[in-house]
């Protein structure tokens, strides 16, 4: 049976249009990053990457991402479970509240944390007298990163879990499975791709967040400089190659996560085909 849009001409036209537009719109910027980064050769690129401050920025950025993901994972799954498996007053409001980080401009996100936990904030002034510093140190960077990334996993899971409904889980529970077993054996396999996609988005944003982090970081080189902040500083220093070297690193991290996702999907589709 022929499907809609299967005529060879339509097919070729659409594929062609999609490829050309994507190449111009998405691929070209990516190529440009690497072209700029390597414009003065491999050695200059390497000198920029192996710089102490760059290495520290990479370490800090990865640490922040690594701490952010588990927090967002627990919250995302809990919230998705709550709003898709139960009906209660205020459900829709709750679901909209988690979109606040989408609605708040990153700079403002940084600002509100600063106003609260900074020296003049009502929590911050207490912290200051007890000599605890959150802002302008890595905990502050972690806090705003969690703020800007927390909706991603929940937002991926909710539509899917809503569409799937809860019949399978109800059956499992009725048959005597514990809540945890039900979640692990029934829910998790159903949502793992959405979950993974959410983690990838969270990671990408955590690694790349600039606006919010720039407000609370203090940008002390070798201490609180994340990779995107370091990139911006190199750019300010007329070191375009260095800046694009950092950009290439960030793009490379992005490509790695995208490749990991594609690889896992491919494995899953093969397993399904054989099953």
């Amino acid at each position: 049976m022929r499907r809609i849009g299967d005529a060879p001409l339509v097919r070729r036209l659409l594929i062609g249009a999609a490829l050309v537009l994507s190449a111009l719109f998405l691929l070209l910027p990516l190529v440009a990053i690497f072209a700029q980064a390597f414009s003065q050769g491999m050695l200059v690129f390497w000198a920029n990457v192996s710089n102490t401050f760059t290495l520290h920025a990479i370490g800090l950025t990865l640490m922040i991402a690594l701490l952010t993901i588990p927090v967002c994972l627990v919250f995302g799954v809990a919230l998705a479970w709550l709003v898709t498996r139960f009906s209660f007053p205020g459900r829709r409001i709750l679901q909209t509240l988690i979109d606040i980080p989408f609605a708040v401009s990153p700079v403002v996100a940084g600002l509100i944390y600063l106003l609260l936990y900074g020296r003049n904030g009502w929590i911050g002034s207490w912290l200051d007298t007890h000599d605890i510093q959150l802002m302008f140190a890595w905990p502050g960077i972690l806090m705003v990163t969690i703020f800007v990334t927390c909706p991603f996993i929940a937002r991926e899971l909710i539509p899917l879990m809503q569409a799937q409904g809860s019949r399978e889980e109800e059956a499992a529970v009725t048959l005597g499975a514990s809540g945890w077993t039900t979640f692990r054996r029934v829910t998790l396999p159903n949502i793992r791709w959405a979950l993974l996609y959410g983690v990838i988005l969270t990671n990408a944003r955590a690694v790349g967040e600039f606006g919010a982090v720039s407000v609370v970081s203090g940008a002390i080189r070798g201490q609180t400089n994340t990779l995107p902040l370091h990139l911006e500083q190199l750019y300010q220093d007329y070191n375009a190659v260095g800046a694009f070297a950092c950009a290439a690193l960030l793009a490379f991290i992005a490509l790695l996560t995208l490749a990991a996702k594609a690889g896992l999907e491919w494995r899953a589709s093969r397993r399904e085909a054989f099953a």
Binding site: L66, G118, D128, M135, F136, I220
Partner: protein
């Protein structure tokens, strides 16, 4: 998540290593934090090792110096909110004043060091393309019909603010204080801006790499650095016969320095900027300095020009900010089309 365990472990080790090493460094030696403006990174990268060596020689103590750089206002804001910088080296008097108003910097900070606590100074100058095809020599040439210029947004950048004030100061003298004529001049002047980047570096990129505009306006020091960075054959530096005095104020952030046990260090660090060695370094970065020996040495680098103080034309910085740059004030009115 199917992240291999060894990968995860090594990442955690890396991350912990990063935080441990920085705390370890603090435990071992005293560390001074200098909060500075954006484009001073290379400058202090050159000054700091000199000071460290000098301090080591004088006091036999090894110290570390950390740098934090950003827009001058953003830096001041960070200190207000708890960034524990020991000293500030800014490019805006108003940004130090904000700290003084909050009690973080001594009330009389401008008297704490020589020359209004400004160890070096500069002015606004022009960078034009090879051969100066539009014949730009002074501010009135910038209000001509076919001239397009690039300078950072006065709303977001101190650099841009100086440019605006310099042009106004020029017009004030040229039209003998006739407010209407000054405003007409400023309106034409502002209409010739091709791009308003948020910061100095963005403006440079627009002018050099994107080829926009006939003239880039920035600090004299910055304009000279750009020229040597991007090829002295393709660009020329023009210092107008009259311009604004741009001070680069420094101050000790008292409470922070005390808390970090760095009061003596902070004071010496800023005093060191007035030493002949430091002044020579500063002049090498095209900043104008006060030390007479150094001034003589670099005399041919800095064309003579008449510099007026912001206070002379606008009363005070506060008045200038309120009358010109506040929301809905003169700048906003002049730009309305």
């Amino acid at each position: 998540m199917a992240m291999p365990v060894f990968f995860r472990r090594s990442l955690i080790a890396l991350a912990l290593g990063a935080s441990v090493s920085s705390t370890a460094a603090m435990a071992q030696e005293r560390e001074l934090l200098n909060s500075s403006y954006d484009i001073a990174r290379e400058l202090f990268a050159a000054v700091n090792p000199e000071f460290q060596a000098w301090w080591q020689e004088e006091h036999g103590e090894e110290i570390a110096i950390s740098q934090s750089h950003g827009g001058s206002s953003a830096q001041a804001r960070a200190i207000l909110q708890g960034l524990r910088a020991d000293v500030v080296t800014f490019n805006q008097v108003t940004d130090v004043q904000v700290l003084a108003d909050a009690g973080l910097v001594a009330e009389d900070w401008q008297e704490a060091f020589d020359n209004n606590a400004s160890p070096y100074y500069s002015t606004t100058a022009f960078l034009v393309r090879k051969g100066n095809p539009k014949g730009i020599e002074s501010w009135d040439d910038l209000a001509k019909e076919d001239v397009k210029m690039v300078f950072p947004n006065p709303k977001t950048s101190g650099n841009g603010r100086y440019t605006y004030l310099a042009a106004w100061g020029f017009a004030d003298q040229a039209f003998d204080g006739d407010e209407e004529q000054i405003q007409d001049f400023m309106r034409t002047f502002l209409a010739n801006v091709a791009v308003f980047d948020t910061g100095g570096r963005g403006a440079t990129t627009s002018f050099i790499e994107r080829g926009i505009g006939d003239v880039l306006i920035s600090f004299e020091s910055e304009v000279n650095n750009i020229r040597s960075e991007y090829g002295s054959d393709d660009y020329e530096v023009i210092v107008p016969p009259m311009s604004v005095l741009a001070e680069f104020p420094v101050a000790v952030v008292g409470p922070n320095a005390e808390r970090n046990g760095n009061s003596d260090l902070a004071q010496s660090y800023l005093e060191y900027l007035y030493s002949e060695d430091a002044q020579r370094l500063l002049a090498g970065f095209s900043y104008r300095v006060h030390n007479e020996a150094v001034v003589e040495e670099f005399a041919d680098q800095f064309p003579e020009t008449e510099l007026f103080q912001v206070e002379d034309v606008f009363g005070s910085w506060d008045d200038a900010m309120e009358a010109h740059f506040a929301g809905g004030a003169l700048l906003d009115q002049l730009q309305r089309r």
